[in-house]
Protein backbone atom coordinates (compact mmCIF):
# COMPACT_ATOMS: atom_id res chain seq x y z
CA UNK A 1 0.00 0.00 0.00
CA UNK A 2 1.32 3.41 -0.91
CA UNK A 3 1.91 5.91 1.84
CA UNK A 4 -0.20 9.00 1.98
CA UNK A 5 1.68 11.53 4.07
CA UNK A 6 -0.97 14.23 3.97
CA UNK A 7 -3.80 11.92 5.02
CA UNK A 8 -1.62 10.48 7.77
CA UNK A 9 -0.68 13.90 9.12
CA UNK A 10 -4.23 15.21 9.02
CA UNK A 11 -5.72 12.13 10.64
CA UNK A 12 -3.27 12.31 13.54
CA UNK A 13 -3.66 16.06 13.84
CA UNK A 14 -7.38 15.61 14.31
CA UNK A 15 -6.76 12.78 16.76
CA UNK A 16 -4.57 15.16 18.74
CA UNK A 17 -7.30 17.80 18.73
CA UNK A 18 -9.71 15.16 20.04
CA UNK A 19 -7.36 13.91 22.69
CA UNK A 20 -6.14 17.26 24.02
CA UNK A 21 -9.33 18.27 25.87
CA UNK A 22 -9.62 14.75 27.28
CA UNK A 23 -6.03 14.86 28.51
CA UNK A 24 -6.60 18.35 29.91
CA UNK A 25 -9.68 17.04 31.72
CA UNK A 26 -7.81 14.10 33.21
CA UNK A 27 -4.87 16.13 34.55
CA UNK A 28 -7.11 18.96 35.75
CA UNK A 29 -9.04 16.47 37.86
CA UNK A 30 -6.00 16.12 40.11
CA UNK A 31 -5.08 19.79 40.47
CA UNK A 32 -6.06 22.95 42.31
CA UNK A 33 -7.47 25.90 40.40
CA UNK A 34 -4.17 27.74 40.68
CA UNK A 35 -2.22 24.89 39.23
CA UNK A 36 -4.78 24.44 36.43
CA UNK A 37 -4.28 28.10 35.54
CA UNK A 38 -0.53 28.24 35.81
CA UNK A 39 0.52 24.87 34.42
CA UNK A 40 -2.44 23.76 32.30
CA UNK A 41 -0.92 20.80 30.50
CA UNK A 42 1.68 19.65 33.00
CA UNK A 43 1.14 16.58 35.12
CA UNK A 44 -0.06 17.54 38.61
CA UNK A 45 2.74 18.46 41.05
CA UNK A 46 0.85 16.77 43.87
CA UNK A 47 -1.92 14.37 42.90
CA UNK A 48 -5.00 15.80 44.51
CA UNK A 49 -7.25 12.76 44.82
CA UNK A 50 -9.41 14.75 47.20
CA UNK A 51 -11.07 16.41 44.20
CA UNK A 52 -12.89 13.18 43.52
CA UNK A 53 -14.30 12.95 47.03
CA UNK A 54 -15.31 16.61 46.99
CA UNK A 55 -17.08 16.18 43.64
CA UNK A 56 -18.79 13.00 44.80
CA UNK A 57 -20.08 14.65 47.96
CA UNK A 58 -20.90 18.13 46.66
CA UNK A 59 -22.86 16.96 43.64
CA UNK A 60 -24.20 13.92 45.53
CA UNK A 61 -23.09 11.76 42.65
CA UNK A 62 -23.89 8.49 44.42
CA UNK A 63 -27.61 9.21 44.47
CA UNK A 64 -27.41 10.68 40.95
CA UNK A 65 -25.72 7.57 39.55
CA UNK A 66 -28.38 5.45 41.21
CA UNK A 67 -31.14 7.57 39.63
CA UNK A 68 -29.52 7.29 36.22
CA UNK A 69 -29.16 3.52 36.53
CA UNK A 70 -32.76 3.14 37.66
CA UNK A 71 -34.20 5.29 34.88
CA UNK A 72 -32.05 3.68 32.19
CA UNK A 73 -32.89 0.13 33.27
CA UNK A 74 -36.64 0.58 33.53
CA UNK A 75 -36.67 2.50 30.25
CA UNK A 76 -34.73 -0.18 28.37
CA UNK A 77 -36.98 -2.98 29.65
CA UNK A 78 -40.02 -1.02 28.58
CA UNK A 79 -38.46 -0.19 25.20
CA UNK A 80 -37.81 -3.84 24.43
CA UNK A 81 -41.22 -4.92 25.71
CA UNK A 82 -42.84 -2.50 23.28
CA UNK A 83 -40.48 -2.77 20.32
CA UNK A 84 -39.88 -6.53 20.09
CA UNK A 85 -43.53 -7.56 19.51
CA UNK A 86 -44.02 -4.67 17.09
CA UNK A 87 -40.93 -5.64 15.11
CA UNK A 88 -42.11 -9.26 15.02
CA UNK A 89 -45.46 -8.19 13.60
CA UNK A 90 -43.86 -5.92 11.00
CA UNK A 91 -41.34 -8.57 9.97
CA UNK A 92 -44.13 -11.05 9.36
CA UNK A 93 -46.46 -8.77 7.47
CA UNK A 94 -46.09 -7.09 4.12
CA UNK A 95 -49.19 -5.09 3.32
CA UNK A 96 -50.22 -1.48 3.21
CA UNK A 97 -50.96 -1.22 6.92
CA UNK A 98 -47.51 -2.55 7.75
CA UNK A 99 -45.89 -0.11 5.35
CA UNK A 100 -47.80 2.80 6.86
CA UNK A 101 -46.65 1.81 10.34
CA UNK A 102 -43.04 1.45 9.18
CA UNK A 103 -43.33 4.83 7.48
CA UNK A 104 -44.59 6.41 10.69
CA UNK A 105 -41.60 5.14 12.62
CA UNK A 106 -39.20 6.17 9.84
CA UNK A 107 -40.51 9.72 9.95
CA UNK A 108 -40.40 9.66 13.74
CA UNK A 109 -36.77 8.63 13.67
CA UNK A 110 -35.82 11.78 11.79
CA UNK A 111 -37.46 14.24 14.17
CA UNK A 112 -35.16 14.98 17.11
CA UNK A 113 -37.07 14.65 20.40
CA UNK A 114 -36.00 18.18 21.30
CA UNK A 115 -38.57 19.53 18.84
CA UNK A 116 -41.37 18.75 21.29
CA UNK A 117 -39.58 19.50 24.57
CA UNK A 118 -41.97 22.12 25.90
CA UNK A 119 -45.23 20.28 25.13
CA UNK A 120 -43.67 17.22 26.75
CA UNK A 121 -43.11 19.24 29.92
CA UNK A 122 -46.78 20.22 29.78
CA UNK A 123 -47.69 16.55 29.36
CA UNK A 124 -45.62 15.64 32.42
CA UNK A 125 -47.44 18.28 34.47
CA UNK A 126 -50.84 17.08 33.21
CA UNK A 127 -49.98 13.51 34.17
CA UNK A 128 -48.90 14.63 37.63
CA UNK A 129 -45.42 13.28 36.98
CA UNK A 130 -43.48 16.55 36.78
CA UNK A 131 -40.35 16.40 38.90
CA UNK A 132 -40.32 12.60 39.07
CA UNK A 133 -38.08 9.91 37.67
CA UNK A 134 -41.15 7.97 36.54
CA UNK A 135 -41.93 10.30 33.68
CA UNK A 136 -38.48 9.80 32.17
CA UNK A 137 -38.94 6.04 32.47
CA UNK A 138 -42.14 6.29 30.44
CA UNK A 139 -41.00 8.97 28.03
CA UNK A 140 -37.55 7.73 27.02
CA UNK A 141 -38.90 4.48 25.47
CA UNK A 142 -41.19 6.53 23.23
CA UNK A 143 -38.26 8.52 21.90
CA UNK A 144 -36.34 5.28 21.37
CA UNK A 145 -39.14 3.37 19.66
CA UNK A 146 -38.73 4.43 16.01
CA UNK A 147 -35.11 3.35 15.71
CA UNK A 148 -35.57 0.27 17.90
CA UNK A 149 -38.56 -1.00 15.94
CA UNK A 150 -36.90 -0.37 12.56
CA UNK A 151 -33.64 -2.06 13.54
CA UNK A 152 -35.31 -5.05 15.13
CA UNK A 153 -37.61 -5.48 12.13
CA UNK A 154 -34.58 -5.67 9.84
CA UNK A 155 -33.01 -8.36 11.98
CA UNK A 156 -36.25 -10.32 12.25
CA UNK A 157 -36.70 -10.26 8.47
CA UNK A 158 -33.65 -12.55 8.27
CA UNK A 159 -35.59 -15.43 9.83
CA UNK A 160 -35.97 -18.08 7.06
CA UNK A 161 -39.56 -18.56 5.94
CA UNK A 162 -39.14 -22.34 5.93
CA UNK A 163 -38.30 -22.29 9.62
CA UNK A 164 -41.42 -20.30 10.41
CA UNK A 165 -43.59 -22.65 8.36
CA UNK A 166 -42.31 -25.80 9.97
CA UNK A 167 -42.73 -24.30 13.43
CA UNK A 168 -46.25 -23.23 12.53
CA UNK A 169 -47.02 -26.76 11.31
CA UNK A 170 -45.94 -28.02 14.71
CA UNK A 171 -48.69 -25.81 16.09
CA UNK A 172 -46.53 -23.00 17.41
CA UNK A 173 -48.51 -19.81 18.12
CA UNK A 174 -47.20 -16.26 17.93
CA UNK A 175 -45.81 -16.34 21.44
CA UNK A 176 -43.78 -19.48 20.83
CA UNK A 177 -42.63 -18.35 17.41
CA UNK A 178 -41.51 -15.03 18.89
CA UNK A 179 -39.66 -16.43 21.89
CA UNK A 180 -38.29 -19.63 20.34
CA UNK A 181 -37.53 -18.60 16.77
CA UNK A 182 -37.50 -14.87 16.13
CA UNK A 183 -35.84 -13.48 19.25
CA UNK A 184 -32.98 -16.03 19.25
CA UNK A 185 -32.23 -15.37 15.59
CA UNK A 186 -32.54 -11.61 16.01
CA UNK A 187 -30.45 -11.64 19.20
CA UNK A 188 -27.59 -9.56 17.74
CA UNK A 189 -30.18 -6.92 16.91
CA UNK A 190 -31.63 -7.03 20.41
CA UNK A 191 -28.15 -6.60 21.86
CA UNK A 192 -27.39 -3.70 19.53
CA UNK A 193 -30.63 -1.94 20.37
CA UNK A 194 -30.02 -2.48 24.09
CA UNK A 195 -26.52 -1.04 24.02
CA UNK A 196 -27.45 1.85 21.77
CA UNK A 197 -30.50 2.90 23.74
CA UNK A 198 -28.90 2.39 27.15
CA UNK A 199 -26.19 4.81 26.08
CA UNK A 200 -28.79 7.27 24.80
CA UNK A 201 -30.81 7.03 28.02
CA UNK A 202 -27.72 7.37 30.19
CA UNK A 203 -26.57 10.46 28.30
CA UNK A 204 -29.96 12.19 28.00
CA UNK A 205 -29.75 15.72 29.37
CA UNK A 206 -32.38 18.34 28.48
CA UNK A 207 -35.49 16.31 29.28
CA UNK A 208 -33.94 15.10 32.51
CA UNK A 209 -33.11 18.70 33.40
CA UNK A 210 -36.48 20.24 32.59
CA UNK A 211 -38.83 17.44 33.64
CA UNK A 212 -37.13 15.36 36.31
CA UNK A 213 -35.44 18.51 37.52
CA UNK A 214 -32.51 19.38 39.74
CA UNK A 215 -33.72 18.12 43.13
CA UNK A 216 -30.83 16.03 44.51
CA UNK A 217 -32.93 12.96 45.29
CA UNK A 218 -34.30 12.50 41.74
CA UNK A 219 -31.83 14.17 39.38
CA UNK A 220 -29.72 12.10 37.01
CA UNK A 221 -25.97 12.22 36.87
CA UNK A 222 -26.03 14.36 33.72
CA UNK A 223 -28.00 17.00 35.61
CA UNK A 224 -26.09 16.67 38.87
CA UNK A 225 -22.68 17.41 37.44
CA UNK A 226 -23.33 20.87 35.96
CA UNK A 227 -24.50 21.82 39.48
CA UNK A 228 -20.80 22.08 40.34
CA UNK A 229 -20.56 25.18 38.15
CA UNK A 230 -20.87 28.42 40.09
CA UNK A 231 -19.42 31.93 40.11
CA UNK A 232 -16.31 30.50 41.69
CA UNK A 233 -16.15 27.08 40.11
CA UNK A 234 -13.47 24.77 41.41
CA UNK A 235 -12.35 23.51 38.01
CA UNK A 236 -10.41 20.61 39.50
CA UNK A 237 -13.48 19.33 41.31
CA UNK A 238 -15.60 19.84 38.19
CA UNK A 239 -13.08 17.88 36.12
CA UNK A 240 -12.99 15.11 38.73
CA UNK A 241 -16.78 14.89 38.69
CA UNK A 242 -16.77 14.77 34.89
CA UNK A 243 -14.24 11.93 34.92
CA UNK A 244 -16.40 10.01 37.41
CA UNK A 245 -19.47 10.47 35.24
CA UNK A 246 -17.85 9.57 31.93
CA UNK A 247 -15.96 6.63 33.40
CA UNK A 248 -18.82 4.08 33.54
CA UNK A 249 -19.41 4.57 29.83
CA UNK A 250 -15.72 4.14 29.02
CA UNK A 251 -15.49 1.05 31.20
CA UNK A 252 -18.45 -0.43 29.36
CA UNK A 253 -16.81 0.52 26.07
CA UNK A 254 -13.47 -1.04 26.93
CA UNK A 255 -15.22 -4.25 28.00
CA UNK A 256 -17.11 -4.64 24.77
CA UNK A 257 -15.81 -2.14 22.29
CA UNK A 258 -16.52 -4.20 19.17
CA UNK A 259 -20.11 -4.82 20.18
CA UNK A 260 -20.59 -1.22 21.13
CA UNK A 261 -19.09 0.11 17.93
CA UNK A 262 -21.34 -2.21 15.95
CA UNK A 263 -24.39 -1.10 17.90
CA UNK A 264 -23.71 2.58 17.50
CA UNK A 265 -22.90 2.38 13.83
CA UNK A 266 -25.98 0.23 13.25
CA UNK A 267 -28.02 2.98 14.88
CA UNK A 268 -26.85 5.58 12.42
CA UNK A 269 -26.90 3.32 9.37
CA UNK A 270 -30.65 3.01 9.46
CA UNK A 271 -31.77 6.26 7.84
Amino acid sequence: MRKHPLATVLSWLYALILAAPLYYLAVSALKTNIEIFTRPFALPAAWLWDNFRTAWETARLGQALLNSVLISLVAIVLTLALAVPAAYALARTDNRAARVITGTFSAGFLIPPFAALIPTVVLAIEMGLFGTREFQMLFLPASALPLSVLLLTQFMRTVPAALVESAALDGAGHWRLLTRVFVPIAMPGVVSVTILQLLTFWNEYLFALTITGTAPDVRTVQVALPALVSDATNLGVLAAGTVLTVLPVYVAYSLMNRRMQEALTAGAVKG
Binding site: L25, L82, P85, T93, N95, L235, A268
Partner: protein, 288 residues
Protein backbone atom coordinates in the same frame (compact mmCIF):
# COMPACT_ATOMS: atom_id res chain seq x y z
CA UNK B 1 -53.88 -13.40 5.02
CA UNK B 2 -56.23 -12.68 7.92
CA UNK B 3 -53.69 -14.27 10.19
CA UNK B 4 -50.90 -12.05 8.91
CA UNK B 5 -53.05 -8.92 9.22
CA UNK B 6 -54.17 -9.74 12.72
CA UNK B 7 -50.62 -10.02 13.95
CA UNK B 8 -50.28 -6.29 13.35
CA UNK B 9 -52.23 -5.77 16.57
CA UNK B 10 -48.90 -6.38 18.23
CA UNK B 11 -47.74 -3.00 16.98
CA UNK B 12 -50.58 -1.21 18.76
CA UNK B 13 -48.88 -0.78 22.17
CA UNK B 14 -45.79 0.78 20.65
CA UNK B 15 -47.86 2.95 18.31
CA UNK B 16 -49.99 4.10 21.23
CA UNK B 17 -46.89 4.88 23.27
CA UNK B 18 -45.37 6.78 20.39
CA UNK B 19 -48.61 8.69 19.82
CA UNK B 20 -48.96 9.78 23.45
CA UNK B 21 -45.36 10.76 24.14
CA UNK B 22 -44.08 11.85 20.73
CA UNK B 23 -46.78 12.71 18.20
CA UNK B 24 -49.08 14.26 20.81
CA UNK B 25 -46.51 16.76 22.07
CA UNK B 26 -45.42 17.54 18.52
CA UNK B 27 -49.01 18.36 17.56
CA UNK B 28 -49.56 20.31 20.78
CA UNK B 29 -46.75 22.61 19.72
CA UNK B 30 -48.98 24.10 17.02
CA UNK B 31 -51.73 24.73 19.58
CA UNK B 32 -49.44 26.31 22.17
CA UNK B 33 -48.10 28.61 19.45
CA UNK B 34 -51.52 30.30 19.36
CA UNK B 35 -51.75 30.95 23.11
CA UNK B 36 -50.73 33.72 25.42
CA UNK B 37 -49.18 31.70 28.20
CA UNK B 38 -46.90 33.31 30.77
CA UNK B 39 -45.24 30.31 32.29
CA UNK B 40 -46.47 26.86 33.11
CA UNK B 41 -48.30 27.82 36.29
CA UNK B 42 -50.62 30.31 34.59
CA UNK B 43 -53.83 29.93 32.61
CA UNK B 44 -53.32 30.31 28.86
CA UNK B 45 -55.63 32.38 26.64
CA UNK B 46 -56.13 31.99 22.90
CA UNK B 47 -54.71 34.85 20.84
CA UNK B 48 -54.46 33.30 17.38
CA UNK B 49 -51.60 34.45 15.22
CA UNK B 50 -50.58 37.34 17.49
CA UNK B 51 -47.49 35.42 18.63
CA UNK B 52 -46.38 34.99 15.06
CA UNK B 53 -46.45 38.74 14.43
CA UNK B 54 -44.59 39.35 17.68
CA UNK B 55 -41.91 36.79 16.93
CA UNK B 56 -41.26 37.96 13.39
CA UNK B 57 -40.87 41.57 14.54
CA UNK B 58 -38.41 40.66 17.32
CA UNK B 59 -34.70 41.43 16.70
CA UNK B 60 -33.73 38.54 19.01
CA UNK B 61 -35.53 36.16 16.69
CA UNK B 62 -33.70 37.64 13.69
CA UNK B 63 -30.39 37.16 15.48
CA UNK B 64 -31.35 33.56 16.28
CA UNK B 65 -32.23 32.81 12.67
CA UNK B 66 -28.92 34.30 11.57
CA UNK B 67 -26.92 32.35 14.15
CA UNK B 68 -28.66 29.07 13.36
CA UNK B 69 -28.04 29.53 9.65
CA UNK B 70 -24.37 30.33 10.28
CA UNK B 71 -24.08 27.33 12.54
CA UNK B 72 -25.40 24.80 10.03
CA UNK B 73 -23.85 26.54 7.01
CA UNK B 74 -20.39 26.29 8.59
CA UNK B 75 -20.63 23.07 10.58
CA UNK B 76 -22.18 20.75 7.98
CA UNK B 77 -20.10 21.58 4.86
CA UNK B 78 -16.93 21.30 6.96
CA UNK B 79 -17.96 18.21 8.87
CA UNK B 80 -19.23 15.92 6.13
CA UNK B 81 -16.38 16.10 3.55
CA UNK B 82 -13.76 16.01 6.31
CA UNK B 83 -15.45 13.05 7.96
CA UNK B 84 -15.75 11.25 4.65
CA UNK B 85 -12.06 11.68 3.88
CA UNK B 86 -11.03 10.62 7.38
CA UNK B 87 -13.41 7.68 7.20
CA UNK B 88 -11.91 6.66 3.88
CA UNK B 89 -8.45 6.92 5.40
CA UNK B 90 -9.49 4.81 8.42
CA UNK B 91 -10.89 2.22 6.07
CA UNK B 92 -7.50 1.76 4.39
CA UNK B 93 -6.30 0.57 7.81
CA UNK B 94 -3.28 2.87 8.17
CA UNK B 95 -0.76 2.25 10.90
CA UNK B 96 -2.31 2.91 14.31
CA UNK B 97 -5.82 2.87 12.94
CA UNK B 98 -7.10 1.18 16.07
CA UNK B 99 -6.00 4.08 18.24
CA UNK B 100 -7.38 6.48 15.70
CA UNK B 101 -10.76 4.82 15.57
CA UNK B 102 -11.05 4.62 19.37
CA UNK B 103 -10.25 8.34 19.60
CA UNK B 104 -12.58 9.28 16.77
CA UNK B 105 -15.29 7.23 18.35
CA UNK B 106 -15.02 8.62 21.85
CA UNK B 107 -17.03 11.85 21.52
CA UNK B 108 -19.94 9.57 20.63
CA UNK B 109 -19.74 8.14 24.14
CA UNK B 110 -19.63 11.47 25.95
CA UNK B 111 -22.97 13.10 26.67
CA UNK B 112 -23.75 16.67 25.76
CA UNK B 113 -23.66 17.79 29.38
CA UNK B 114 -20.23 16.21 29.89
CA UNK B 115 -19.01 17.79 26.66
CA UNK B 116 -20.25 21.08 28.03
CA UNK B 117 -18.36 20.59 31.28
CA UNK B 118 -15.16 19.60 29.49
CA UNK B 119 -15.23 22.72 27.33
CA UNK B 120 -16.28 24.90 30.23
CA UNK B 121 -12.79 24.22 31.57
CA UNK B 122 -10.99 24.21 28.22
CA UNK B 123 -12.45 27.55 27.07
CA UNK B 124 -12.51 29.41 30.40
CA UNK B 125 -10.35 32.57 30.54
CA UNK B 126 -7.65 30.68 32.44
CA UNK B 127 -8.37 27.41 30.68
CA UNK B 128 -6.58 25.07 28.35
CA UNK B 129 -6.85 26.95 25.07
CA UNK B 130 -5.51 30.19 26.52
CA UNK B 131 -2.84 28.27 28.42
CA UNK B 132 -1.74 26.73 25.13
CA UNK B 133 -1.69 30.10 23.36
CA UNK B 134 0.37 31.67 26.16
CA UNK B 135 2.73 28.73 26.03
CA UNK B 136 3.23 29.39 22.33
CA UNK B 137 3.83 33.08 22.96
CA UNK B 138 0.53 34.05 21.33
CA UNK B 139 -0.82 35.90 24.34
CA UNK B 140 -2.54 38.46 22.16
CA UNK B 141 -4.90 35.79 20.78
CA UNK B 142 -6.03 34.66 24.22
CA UNK B 143 -9.56 35.76 25.04
CA UNK B 144 -12.55 34.81 27.16
CA UNK B 145 -13.80 32.56 24.36
CA UNK B 146 -17.33 32.10 25.63
CA UNK B 147 -17.80 35.66 26.94
CA UNK B 148 -16.56 37.46 23.84
CA UNK B 149 -19.34 38.18 21.30
CA UNK B 150 -16.90 37.62 18.44
CA UNK B 151 -15.90 34.13 19.56
CA UNK B 152 -18.92 32.71 21.44
CA UNK B 153 -20.74 31.28 18.41
CA UNK B 154 -17.55 30.15 16.62
CA UNK B 155 -16.53 28.32 19.81
CA UNK B 156 -19.83 26.47 19.86
CA UNK B 157 -19.45 25.54 16.20
CA UNK B 158 -15.93 24.33 16.92
CA UNK B 159 -17.31 22.03 19.63
CA UNK B 160 -19.89 20.70 17.14
CA UNK B 161 -17.02 19.87 14.80
CA UNK B 162 -14.85 18.47 17.59
CA UNK B 163 -17.46 15.88 18.44
CA UNK B 164 -19.08 15.44 15.03
CA UNK B 165 -16.22 14.89 12.60
CA UNK B 166 -14.58 11.86 14.20
CA UNK B 167 -17.82 10.18 15.04
CA UNK B 168 -19.14 10.63 11.50
CA UNK B 169 -15.79 9.41 10.12
CA UNK B 170 -16.15 6.16 12.06
CA UNK B 171 -19.63 5.72 10.59
CA UNK B 172 -18.31 6.29 7.06
CA UNK B 173 -15.47 3.86 7.67
CA UNK B 174 -17.94 1.21 8.84
CA UNK B 175 -20.04 1.75 5.75
CA UNK B 176 -17.08 1.64 3.38
CA UNK B 177 -15.87 -1.55 5.04
CA UNK B 178 -19.18 -3.20 4.15
CA UNK B 179 -18.64 -2.40 0.46
CA UNK B 180 -16.82 -4.79 -1.87
CA UNK B 181 -13.15 -3.86 -1.60
CA UNK B 182 -12.16 -5.10 -5.07
CA UNK B 183 -13.56 -2.06 -6.84
CA UNK B 184 -11.32 0.32 -4.94
CA UNK B 185 -8.32 -1.96 -5.31
CA UNK B 186 -8.93 -2.28 -9.03
CA UNK B 187 -9.08 1.47 -9.40
CA UNK B 188 -5.79 1.81 -7.56
CA UNK B 189 -4.13 -0.81 -9.71
CA UNK B 190 -5.34 1.09 -12.75
CA UNK B 191 -3.25 3.92 -11.44
CA UNK B 192 -6.05 6.21 -10.34
CA UNK B 193 -4.69 8.63 -7.76
CA UNK B 194 -5.81 8.41 -4.18
CA UNK B 195 -7.91 11.53 -4.36
CA UNK B 196 -9.63 10.37 -7.52
CA UNK B 197 -10.26 6.89 -6.15
CA UNK B 198 -11.79 8.37 -3.05
CA UNK B 199 -14.18 10.75 -4.77
CA UNK B 200 -14.88 8.99 -8.06
CA UNK B 201 -14.98 5.37 -6.93
CA UNK B 202 -15.63 5.19 -3.20
CA UNK B 203 -17.94 8.18 -2.87
CA UNK B 204 -20.53 7.07 -5.46
CA UNK B 205 -20.72 3.69 -3.73
CA UNK B 206 -21.84 5.22 -0.45
CA UNK B 207 -23.57 8.30 -1.84
CA UNK B 208 -26.95 7.41 -0.33
CA UNK B 209 -25.35 6.98 3.04
CA UNK B 210 -23.55 10.31 2.78
CA UNK B 211 -26.90 11.91 2.10
CA UNK B 212 -28.51 10.21 5.09
CA UNK B 213 -25.73 11.19 7.47
CA UNK B 214 -25.72 14.75 6.14
CA UNK B 215 -29.42 15.02 6.87
CA UNK B 216 -29.02 13.54 10.34
CA UNK B 217 -26.11 15.77 11.26
CA UNK B 218 -28.00 18.76 9.90
CA UNK B 219 -31.02 17.97 12.04
CA UNK B 220 -28.91 17.31 15.11
CA UNK B 221 -26.94 20.50 14.72
CA UNK B 222 -30.03 22.57 14.08
CA UNK B 223 -32.19 21.14 16.86
CA UNK B 224 -29.93 20.15 19.70
CA UNK B 225 -27.67 23.17 20.13
CA UNK B 226 -29.84 24.35 23.04
CA UNK B 227 -28.19 22.07 25.61
CA UNK B 228 -24.63 23.14 24.93
CA UNK B 229 -25.57 26.82 24.76
CA UNK B 230 -27.48 26.55 28.02
CA UNK B 231 -24.41 25.07 29.69
CA UNK B 232 -21.81 27.39 28.19
CA UNK B 233 -23.07 30.80 27.04
CA UNK B 234 -26.81 31.13 27.80
CA UNK B 235 -27.11 32.60 24.33
CA UNK B 236 -24.86 35.54 25.11
CA UNK B 237 -23.10 37.84 25.28
CA UNK B 238 -26.19 39.74 24.17
CA UNK B 239 -27.74 37.53 21.52
CA UNK B 240 -24.44 36.64 19.87
CA UNK B 241 -24.80 32.90 20.47
CA UNK B 242 -28.60 32.60 20.61
CA UNK B 243 -29.77 29.98 18.13
CA UNK B 244 -33.36 29.05 17.34
CA UNK B 245 -33.02 25.90 19.36
CA UNK B 246 -31.84 27.82 22.42
CA UNK B 247 -34.53 30.48 21.90
CA UNK B 248 -37.21 27.76 22.13
CA UNK B 249 -35.77 26.73 25.47
CA UNK B 250 -35.05 30.18 26.88
CA UNK B 251 -38.43 31.69 25.98
CA UNK B 252 -40.25 28.83 27.66
CA UNK B 253 -38.22 28.51 30.83
CA UNK B 254 -36.45 31.74 31.63
CA UNK B 255 -38.49 34.35 29.77
CA UNK B 256 -41.85 32.74 30.44
CA UNK B 257 -43.50 33.13 27.08
CA UNK B 258 -44.61 29.72 25.91
CA UNK B 259 -46.54 30.96 22.88
CA UNK B 260 -43.45 32.73 21.55
CA UNK B 261 -41.32 29.69 22.29
CA UNK B 262 -43.55 27.38 20.32
CA UNK B 263 -43.82 29.71 17.32
CA UNK B 264 -40.05 29.47 17.16
CA UNK B 265 -40.41 25.70 17.59
CA UNK B 266 -42.67 25.55 14.53
CA UNK B 267 -40.20 27.68 12.56
CA UNK B 268 -37.43 25.29 13.59
CA UNK B 269 -39.45 22.30 12.46
CA UNK B 270 -40.20 23.91 9.09
CA UNK B 271 -36.53 24.84 8.65
CA UNK B 272 -35.59 21.25 9.46
CA UNK B 273 -37.96 19.85 6.85
CA UNK B 274 -36.92 22.46 4.28
CA UNK B 275 -33.23 21.86 4.91
CA UNK B 276 -33.70 18.13 4.52
CA UNK B 277 -35.42 18.58 1.19
CA UNK B 278 -32.58 20.86 0.09
CA UNK B 279 -29.87 18.37 1.11
CA UNK B 280 -31.75 15.62 -0.66
CA UNK B 281 -31.92 17.61 -3.86
CA UNK B 282 -28.31 18.82 -3.70
CA UNK B 283 -26.78 15.42 -3.07
CA UNK B 284 -28.89 13.76 -5.69
CA UNK B 285 -28.19 16.07 -8.61
CA UNK B 286 -24.47 16.28 -8.26
CA UNK B 287 -23.59 12.69 -8.94
CA UNK B 288 -26.29 11.72 -11.41
Amino acid sequence: MTRSTRVLWLTVPSLAWFAVFSIGPLAAMFVIATLRWKGLLYEPTYIGLENVTKVFADPTFHAAVRNSLIQVAVAIPVMIPLAFMLGYHLNTKPRGYRILSVLYFSPGLISISMTGMIFYGVLSPNGGVNGLLRGLGLDSLATAWLADPATALPSLIAIDLWRGVGWTAVLFAARLASMPGEVIEAAQIDGAGRFRTMWQVAYPMVKDYVRTLTMLQFLWTLFTSAALILLLTQGGPGTSSTTLSYLVYAKAFSMRDLGYSQVVGVVLLLLGIGGMALIRALLRERTR
